[in-house]
Symmetry: D2
Subunit: 461 residues, 4 copies
């Protein structure tokens, strides 16, 4: 099947059509990887059998070697015949080993000892080796921008309305902090993925036939793969380990969606504080040759809308009847898509942020727009501190008055009789701040630095 004959946009567009993405994800996320991981688990099993003297080391070596040569195509061919994917995998290995070794392939294992363990390991590796490095790269980019712009005065916005002054670096520090937290959560969840070797119903029925300590046997197999067993298993590993990882990943995607949305809005024509870089050959619109659209930020938001609802499937798959029903089988095959999409969005967002154009004159111009009115908040607080019993209401009315009179808030305030006794109590510095609200940025710059340093330390950047 050709790439463009794929139905999934992940396959034909975002992964199959992007060499860099393909190379990063191919070891973990396609079906070839699923089968490779299953073969790794079969190899770990037979190695353990040899350690426990259940089979010979020679048999173990033979099986391990054979497992390395089995391909996805072979397995699918065999599955067509017998209609069972793991038995097909097992047959493919068995066909490549001696009669002596044959019985020890998959010995005592149930399909889901292999599948659950392989999938846990695969998702863990995909998170740790592919997704997290990409998220950390984005985190570094954000930290760099936050630091660089920590003193760039910007108007803070709430409800889409100008509120109080901050700095552009402080804006970015918000994402640094939130993404940092999500990276830590994803790393913890990935490192907590578990395997199982407890048989068809979880009671170690089969392995107990042959080994004294079936739990120790399970732990030995899993240790070879870098996993720990779940506290309890049925046919499958407790689904909550994967649910925690998916939650961490999806909520990291949520932070990225927020970054993307904010950048989109800051790029609105009237706001113009940032812009995506555009290539010289790049076409903005098929009919409006002049357009410069925030297509990368839009893409990140759009992918989030597609993949965030997939958590419903994760939660629905928590429910599996008795020692397991198979209604999570097809659906859990789609979990790697969530990691792929998050990786792709992170890569794209990082690239857009790395090249982000910060339009300082527009940031400044927007700040100037409502400069006067900004002083209303410090005015209300300083008047209150000076003893005005109802300064919030008093200042609220002054702002209405200043709009009616088309004067600046300061003009109105400093000329209003009521204000005089309180203004007299203020320090020079406080009075200056009321005149120059660009100084009213609180601790935006220091906080930015602090947040960056905090996450550099936590994430060992």
């Amino acid at each position: 099947m050709d790439t463009f004959d794929s139905i999934s946009p992940l396959d034909y567009r975002y992964y199959g059509n992007d060499k860099e993405v393909f190379e990063k994800l191919q070891p973990y996320l396609p079906e070839t990887a699923a089968i490779k991981y299953q073969l790794m688990v079969e190899a770990a099993l037979v190695k353990t059998l040899a350690e426990k003297k259940i089979c010979s080391r020679k048999v173990a070596d033979e099986v391990e070697k054979a497992a390395k040569t089995v391909t996805a195509a072979e397995v699918y061919e065999e599955e067509k015949r017998i209609k069972h994917n793991i038995r097909a995998l097992v047959n493919c290995i068995r066909n490549k080993v001696s009669n002596e070794a044959k019985p020890y392939v998959h010995f005592t294992a149930t399909s889901n000892d292999i599948i659950s363990t392989a999938e846990s390991l695969r998702l863990k590796d995909a998170a740790i080796n592919a997704l997290l490095p990409q998220l950390l790269q984005l985190e570094k980019t954000l930290i760099k921008i936050a630091r660089r712009e920590k003193n760039t005065l910007q108007i803070g916005r709430t409800h889409g309305q100008h509120a109080e002054p901050i700095t552009f670096g402080f804006t970015i520090a918000s994402y640094v902090s939130r993404l940092g937290g999500r990276i830590a959560a994803a790393a913890a969840a990935a490192n907590n993925m578990r395997g199982k070797f407890a048989g068809a119903v979880g009671a170690y029925n089969a392995s107990s036939l042959l080994v004294k300590d079936a739990e120790e046997f399970e732990a030995s197999v899993l240790k070879k793969l870098g996993l720990k067993p779940a506290t309890h298993s049925t046919q499958i590993v407790e689904p909550e380990f994967a649910a925690d990882l998916m939650h961490a990943v999806v909520s990291a995607f949520g932070v990225m969606a927020n970054v993307a949305d904010d950048m989109r809005h800051l790029q609105r024509t009237e706001v113009g504080e940032v812009a995506e870089q555009f290539g010289a050959e790049q076409v903005g619109s098929s009919t409006m040759p002049h357009k410069r659209n925030p297509i990368n930020f839009e893409n990140v938001k759009s992918l989030w809308k597609e993949f965030m609802p997939r958590m419903m499937t994760v939660y629905a798959d928590q429910v599996s009847e008795h020692q397991r029903d198979l209604t999570n089988s097809a659906s859990s095959r789609f979990l790697p898509e969530i990691i792929a999409a998050t990786f792709i969005a992170a890569k794209r967002l990082n690239s857009a942020m790395e090249k982000l154009i910060v339009v300082k004159e527009n940031i400044r111009k927007n700040f100037e727009m409502g400069k006067g009115i900004i002083a209303a908040e410090p005015a209300y607080i300083l008047l209150a501190a000076a003893g005005h019993p109802d300064s919030h209401e008093y200042v609220r009315k002054l702002t209405l008055l200043s709009q009616q009179l088309q004067k600046t808030f300061q003009e109105v305030l400093f000329n209003d009789a009521v204000a005089q006794p309180y203004l007299k109590k203020l320090t020079k510095e406080q009075l200056k701040l009321l005149q120059s609200p660009e100084k009213y940025t609180g601790i935006a710059a220091e906080k930015t630095e602090k947040v960056c340093r905090h996450w550099e330390k936590v994430l060992k950047l």
Copy 2:
């Protein structure tokens, strides 16, 4: 990229690995189809330009011919250079035509005149030419079973508990009716998909430059494709047409999930009323050689859990800022996956139902289990009709008594003094029914036939 290098299970497993599915869906759902439909729209445009004498018929023919030769690979190659997918498509056509024809390729169109229209048409065709025939096939299979089993006595179940008698055909008639309704809804929604040729912001700015009646021009282009225009467009067609189609499709999937779930439960070891057919070579379990699992029914339910939540994305994509933001662009690329998965589930369910083994002795055995107690409902009703002022409570206590005494409900009832005056008022037929509750099936068989005939007529089967 090789099939098994795909990340999406749709691509590597359910579509790319299944020749029959591939052949049915390939004309509509992969990226090659998306591009083919866009080229069809470009061709319809230039044909209309010729009709309106804006370009020559020769130019139109040249463009149409060129459009037929453009491939997905070419378009993607060009997109890499200029980073705009529709402009890339346009360039690919332009490169294959004379200088005279070049200006008329995509003339006056905005990208989304092409994309929105092509996608509406593609989803419509996929629904009508691929999905609906498969759903109708399933409907026919269900009707066949319903009719065949309309007299097969079965215990009706509510809360998983035996309730009152029905027939197995009546059970199936429920799915006939519900799926029938969904097929009708999906057909209506598919036939109501709309296109647009209203330009970059929907006001026909560009086309109004050149044609007198821009709406008539739009209608002409779309008519060639078998579509009507939306009542109003911005850059995109009103999203509710596609939302209605997706709702119909997803809710049809919900009915199939219900069928699958019911069959799974009727196949439980203890119930055993139906069974999936098993191939002679088919392996049930990698470790339990004797297992016969309802894997097809499980698969249908599992796919539903994956795809049903995608409606969240459809609803989220209703919101597009102003004359359109692009945050629905990536996400709407995934809509064909919903149709693909519904098709795949329908095909699989149909195949499992066609070969469904109905185990009549178990259906009968289960019915016999609680045969006595079944009479409680008609007893309560007939006693009430005979004038007992509190027969529900009276009968409820008799059932408790029969359990305590380990006697049948009938023994207890017919020997209870209180009942006598009322029993005397009953007809022979009514008394017989109390003794033989297998007659207490209401109009199960007639209703089954009626439902089948109704939907055959509505769906023209």
Copy 3:
């Protein structure tokens, strides 16, 4: 329990705390209404029994009268004792009638004959009597604005970027059209709600004991309530009728969320094209006395985020095992919340739109911002029409040049040698349009009028 002791924000804030909302919704949506509707169904049943001579007219009158006096509190009290809600309801009626009448209360009915029918009717009435009038009111408000502003020149925006000219009325016409479509869909779905009187497993087991034509009996009961029977029922009505209604309602909410989002963004400080009206006493912020926030638009969007995902529950509830399991019982109790929230959002949005401040000077100012560049699209089209073989690319480069030279696009275009031969072919009118792109609004005003008229006709406004 006091209003503010409620946990649900619907109860304590949006409905219980708003007299107008309370009065509109109280007849349909609270538990008192649920029970009132169940009593209505019980009354319709006994009336039909009398018609069919199964009981006397006197008995029927007695029951009907009694049913009118039963209260929710009584039913809940009785339910505490016997743990069955419908039996409790039945007992409450029975307690108020003579021994002669007692047997005919709920006679032959199963609980869900009452519940399914009552809920179908209640949701239908809630939609038709409460929600639709409110949505129609909003539609009228939107039509009024669209017409009033159909000539108010506005810059159309795609990707948050200035695109091509439209009018503000045309912007609003988009909502008129989309909401109009949703109202029509909701009305159709509401009028298609169905009832059932087919007994415990849907085969009319009980009613067949006493009436010849059980389906005719069902139809008679339902006709009294203005409902038709479902094509097939199990214990419950086919869930797809309610799913269709909920889809129509939720997708109508989606259109409102889009309106709200657009208004929010048009109210951004830098854009300032619209504003919510603010009361003289209204406080914008507890600390920033000057803030004027789009709180009503934000509220509508926020409620949509809460209620849109509820469709997942609707879809999940399609799956009910065999003749019914009860796992949809608690969840379906929440359906009225979706209607309540949509009503509340519609009312709030209508009120905000009715008082919407349209800031024409800002609309104009924003339009002027990029006035020059707007001409790029018509320039590209007119040059192409004049025979330029590659005018899109040519114009794209001119726009880059105009930015570099800090000249208007027109200056650059009219002075570029390459353009001259093509410009000469243009009509005076076309040249004028390139100079005055405010004329480049396509058919925005006519289309606005047309859309308004269309929906007035369809919706009989």
Copy 4:
């Protein structure tokens, strides 16, 4: 408003109508609690102001005392006038204090310093004081059953099919382990809830006017409430802390849904291994007086279907524009509903499990059904261990043969010539196990004990 005039089933049915639930949740989850927590935060603020000598201790005492007397009704009354909920709260306090104290009420705080902090604390307290004790109670009940039944032989089921033997205690141990993990996760997330006192845009603009170390000031206020500050805040606390808590809660609900589903299915008429206890007065069905339905288990599953999708809202609310938009305001008001529903389900499930009837004769009878075939798995493994090169396929065919011949698997196996050389190599114990598969329970009993002990230790039960 009367309880039954509520629209929300939580209010009128599951909380408002249940005294025990009401008493547990009323301190945390209704609007009265929301306002009480906001008043607590206002009190903590003024206390800190006094500590920092910004106001006098007397003023602080006066405000704290006044705050304790403000009621929800008062606040709502004032909000109607000024249309701002926190300013209304502030006014209510201010109205009760001296002019000297007035300026210090809410001093330097923005609304969301109060709201975000109060909500974090409220959700934390609701989780720790109400929800977790209920979940722990359920955990204890499960542990008790697991231990009690750890030796009760039961057939393990996969795909709804009999698989291999376990014990009923082992079945329950699966829930012990999974719920245990979720309780630990919920406790961790609850204890990690954060507050903020960083002002309108998060940069401590206002507080920096008056205190030297604004972060230290924030920490002081929050410490009084038992909270730590978020690493970074905008107008609101980073939303991921609440998202983590909701994920833990919703995934705990998922485990309960699984328990409920399993119990429902074990209560199916044909399975009959467990039963919900029924009261003597309890009515099972309005028309089938004999029905004993798993209504509590159904209710738990049904509530899960309603509340699990609410995570979509939680994820959607991660996205808040710039320093905050208000589109999470209404939606976040619904978070307490998730905790309420999880509490209610846990309580109900606990009560049903406490009284669970374990029907040992049915458990045994079901086990006997397929006793023979169970031996297929150990047979395949032991034959393989004895050197059979293809024992899985060999045994698979024997099981088919045993079904054809209507003999037990053992009869067929022990009489088959091929098996003889391998059977000879088995130990007596192994041969005995093949004859008596009830011994083939692996380490089910020991593992059950181990899992119980593990979670007792981790959760300090």
